[in-house]
Symmetry: C2
């Protein structure tokens, strides 16, 4: 009883979820957290807390001496399903200064530090232009710094983009290059400006390397001892000692570099490459196809 379940407005639901999020991760919150984050009055925040108590009975208590609302020991989430990876993704964004703590629901962010890589910011206008070209299935002119020594240092080229790819360190746009007549990756932070939209140069479907996948079978590096292999198998979720990862062929090069797979079995210190590829012949022979365009590499 008490749990009257009428329809509930979006704003109220957000605040109930916020209350529960804070109770789960921080274990506590105060009324002022609600009033300041959502700009509501104190009676409203009190009302929300009462509503929460009503709908999730036994989850919340008021600790008079600490002057905080606290989660009870038998707290059981009812409005959100807690997700550690989501929490950590937010923490990373905060550490990278991509968002502010006050834009998340994290109340007291723990001290956290991510790799401080001093990458140039991407110009919103450029990203916006590429998005527009992708949506409209058209080509766009891009001023791009090329690593190809045959080319001008920076040049305008027309490309027909269709997707974005992230190699773990930076974003590329996958596009048909009207000069070279092939599909390539263009690093976003090397795009200096964008121009007009025009007729497309190719259909996205023609980008075979993008649309075909290789099933990479990974195992703990056999150069490791039995025990370390078990640890790696556990960490990467390999119940039977292996895991199959479908990887776009266009991304195989980065996948290889990122996990140091190529040299895994020959490297002197196997702890540098915890994973190795089972279907290595297939894997290695699939890589060069993406490696032929020097622009991709660096």
């Amino acid at each position: 009883m008490g749990t009257t379940e009428e329809k509930i407005r979006w704003g109220v639901e957000q605040r109930l979820e916020y209350i529960e999020f804070r109770l789960f991760w921080d274990g506590e919150l105060k009324r002022g957290d609600i009033t300041s984050r959502f700009g509501v009055s104190t009676p409203q925040a009190s009302g929300d807390l009462a509503t929460y108590r009503d709908r999730a009975p036994g989850n919340i208590d008021y600790d008079g001496s600490r002057k905080r609302f606290v989660a009870t020991p038998r707290f059981k989430p009812r409005f959100i399903k807690p997700n550690a990876d989501r929490y950590l993704a937010q923490l990373e964004a905060i550490a990278d200064r991509v968002i502010g703590v006050d834009e998340t629901w994290i109340g007291a962010a723990p001290a956290a530090e991510a790799m401080p890589i001093p990458r140039r910011k991407v110009d919103p206008a450029i990203l916006k232009g590429l998005l527009a070209a992708i949506r409209a299935h058209r080509s766009i002119e891009v001023e791009h710094r090329s690593m190809n020594p045959q080319r001008e240092e920076t040049m305008w080229r027309r490309i027909t983009p269709h997707a974005f790819g992230h190699d773990g360190l930076r974003w590329h746009v996958r596009a048909f290059c009207h000069i070279d007549k092939i599909f390539k990756d263009f690093v976003l932070s090397r795009c200096l400006a964008v121009g007009e939209l025009h007729e497309p140069g190719a259909e996205p479907a023609q980008d075979d390397l993008w649309f075909s996948f290789l099933d990479v079978v990974l195992e703990p590096n056999p150069a490791l001892n039995e025990r370390d292999r078990r640890t790696i198998a556990h960490e990467y979720g390999m119940p039977d000692g292996r895991v199959t990862v479908p990887v776009r062929r266009a991304l195989l090069y980065y996948f290889n570099k990122r996990l140091r797979l190529e040299a895994a079995k020959t490297i002197d210190d196997p702890t540098l490459a915890p994973l190795a590829v089972v279907n290595q012949d297939e894997f290695l022979s699939a890589i060069p196809a993406t490696k032929s365009h020097r622009d991709l590499l660096m």
Copy 2:
């Protein structure tokens, strides 16, 4: 005139920001986008669009033939400041399946793919326990898979955590280990369970490696040709050909590995390591201090 600027409720402001976000990035939206995302009625969504038109005159138009609201050519954001890195961070979270498209404001997400690394999910209960210990300045028992061959394969150890660190591939918790009496990193996905809180074993301030920084001076790899060096300098924001990055000594080991700095100048193919360290003596001699605990490496 027209722009009456009374106080505005949180829910309304969210919708106005949503409208502008969509206009900027997607260039268009329809009334139904608002009703479905925020659960409001059609008259309300119409009202919001009218309010937006009122407050940001000249930004929005209705294209009757496409049956969409579209951004005008002279669109100028008034409620949000567009941030490409933030957009891309969301895109990455979507590609990694950490959040759903419907949880972001991105209307039509472009095709995007991030590195598919099959990492085990972190148990929310474990992260929550560590957060609680950090907040309370107490120690916590953790069942952890050790890579140290002297130790049991999995063992309970008491640690006093104080921060989180991300090496680009995974999260660690930085903590004082009550067994080894030193501060170490513990990979989150190797923590299997957490236990009770107790007295702390050390003050966070005693973690010298965490709280002291080394100024790493980076330059484009000198093994590259002049022109490629210029490109790298541009991409990493080095107006005078160098950039100084303060890095926590506790993270130097990962920083080195991630950017392949150690071997940068000697590696056969310099395109694999676009960056090199200027103050290399200082840098290399600072690394081993963090490298002494094998647990960190793999």
